[in-house]
């Protein structure tokens, strides 16, 4: 099991369209619209590294996405 955060920056005025497209993608555990250096934080849960690449590719292909930054989770503590 591979988990990662994908930090997404969008072009101004494209946030809603990007979100709509993003909500169609499989394997996304959560999608959060945030205020800060990034616009969207996506949490991904996949079985293989190749699947993570597929997800990032799908996000890249969404019109309005400017840049992404993938942070692979090495260890996690949660409620």
């Amino acid at each position: 099991m591979i988990k990662a955060y994908i930090l997404v920056l969008t072009y101004v005025g494209n946030l809603n369209t990007v979100l709509e497209e993003m909500r169609k993608i499989e394997n996304l555990e959560s999608i959060a619209v945030v205020a800060g250096d990034y616009d969207i934080i996506v949490k991904v849960e996949v079985e293989e590294v190749e699947e993570l690449m597929e997800v990032t590719n799908k996000i890249h292909s969404i019109k309005g996405v400017k840049r992404t930054n993938t942070q692979v989770i090495e260890k996690e503590i949660r409620e």
Partner: protein
């Protein structure tokens, strides 16, 4: 494609669905008590005996695969089909089953000795505050002040809405509620939540298997208790299985109420789930009017009682709404200083009140943490101050969450 909705919305949807179905169960149970000649103690056991059978049948039906997934996965996406109990679940199920059995026996003890126990039983609603106190002591993510306020509003509202002027009210009955019924229900709720948060085969545990196995343990403990109270009631309970159609209807409906309740427990705190579930009182009103057409029961006994009931209902609604307005969440991206391993740092960050998840990551940052607080100002101050106190953090960036969808 799976449905992706906001976690908070799903929590309220599940808890309220459980309440609506629970209100239906209350009416069926009132019907059974009035129309069927079953001794109180025999009824206490026979509901569970019938419950095991109907729950097993329903769980089997829900295990039938359609489109590659069991039908039950539409009710709980984690449901893999009916399965055997896992070793790691046993201690939790034993404790939860015992709690449920004690709470049930306590309830039936009260209705067996009092002519009109409705006033005494209205104090069961205080269980919300018991859960709140338990969570404050035992859980890292203690309830916020706003949650405490809302819980008190709901508790008092629920007591007012279910209070009866004609019912008996004495110290003995109250002691049973406060010292037996409520603590046992707390154990039951907390351990059901622990079961829901367990991961089975690296997947979240499912409510359907939790409910089925909980019934098995509850029935076992209840059977032992009823046998020792009076063995005749034990055998009369088995004989009462002849009323299986109505018992199946009651426990089959209860099954769905519990599935949504257990799922809600997995998403929110036990106290908040219980508080939202207090809205059963409101949903039972239309059912009660329906039942009043066929049975000698009434929604209120006098105009003053009706006024108090309505005030209580308004308080419950206000309290439940105010729960929904108390959350602020954020992500914090953290860079660690050289020589300070992230694995050690995440333990220090996890100790901060309000941190709901922390992950050591490989990439531009070293740690990503998720936090939850009551107000942005107060929580921000508290969390930032704590982070600044941790040796090994070079810098951090705060990203307030404006809106979030989660796949459940």
């Amino acid at each position: 494609m799976r449905i992706r909705i906001r976690k908070k919305n799903l929590f309220y949807l599940l808890a309220l669905l459980s309440s609506v179905i629970g209100a239906g169960v209350t009416v069926i149970d009132t019907f059974i008590t009035i129309k069927y000649d079953i001794n109180t103690w025999s009824l206490c056991l026979v509901v569970f005996l019938a419950g095991i059978v109907i729950t097993f049948i329903l769980a089997l039906l829900l295990s039938i695969p359609v489109g590659g997934k069991p039908i039950g996965a539409r009710i709980d996406p984690s449901f893999p089909g009916l399965r055997l109990l896992r070793k790691e679940e046993i201690p939790y199920q034993v404790v939860a089953g015992f709690g449920n059995a004690v709470a049930t026996v306590g309830y039936f003890f009260i209705i067996s000795i009092y002519q009109d126990p409705s006033t005494i039983l209205s104090f069961f609603e205080v269980v919300i505050l018991y859960l709140l106190i338990t969570e404050s002591i035992a859980e890292k993510n203690a309830p916020s002040m706003a949650e405490v306020e809302s819980s008190i509003i709901v508790t008092f509202g629920a007591i007012m809405a279910s209070f009866s002027f004609t019912g008996e009210l004495n110290l003995e009955g109250l002691l049973i509620v406060f010292l037996v019924l409520n603590p046992a229900w707390v154990i039951f709720s907390i351990y059901q939540r622990k079961l829901k948060l367990l991961r089975i085969n690296d997947r979240p545990n499912d409510a359907i298997n939790i409910r089925f196995w909980n019934l098995v343990f509850t029935t076992l403990f209840t059977a032992i208790m009823v046998y020792f109270i009076d063995a005749r009631h034990f055998f009369a309970a088995i004989a009462a299985l002849k009323y299986w159609p109505i018992l199946f209807l009651s426990m089959g409906t209860t099954f769905f109420s519990y599935i949504f309740y257990i799922r809600a427990l997995g998403l929110g705190k036990a106290s908040v789930t219980q508080a939202v579930k207090s809205s059963t009182i409101i949903f039972s009103i239309p059912f009660s009017f329906l039942l009043a057409a066929y049975l000698p029961i009434s929604f209120y006994e006098s105009i003053p009682q009706l006024v108090i009931k309505l005030m209580g209902i308004i308080l419950v609604i206000m309290g439940v709404i105010s729960f929904a307005l108390t959350e602020v969440r954020a992500y914090i991206f953290i860079k660690a200083k050289t020589g300070h391993p992230s694995i050690t740092l995440i333990k220090d960050i996890w100790a901060i009140k309000g941190v709901t998840a922390v992950a050591a990551v490989a990439g531009k940052y070293d740690i990503i943490s998720k936090v939850r607080m009551r107000t942005l100002g107060k929580g921000f101050e508290r969390i930032i101050r704590e982070l600044e106190g941790i040796e090994g953090i070079e810098k951090f960036e705060w990203h307030s969450i404006l809106k979030e969808w989660e796949e459940i």
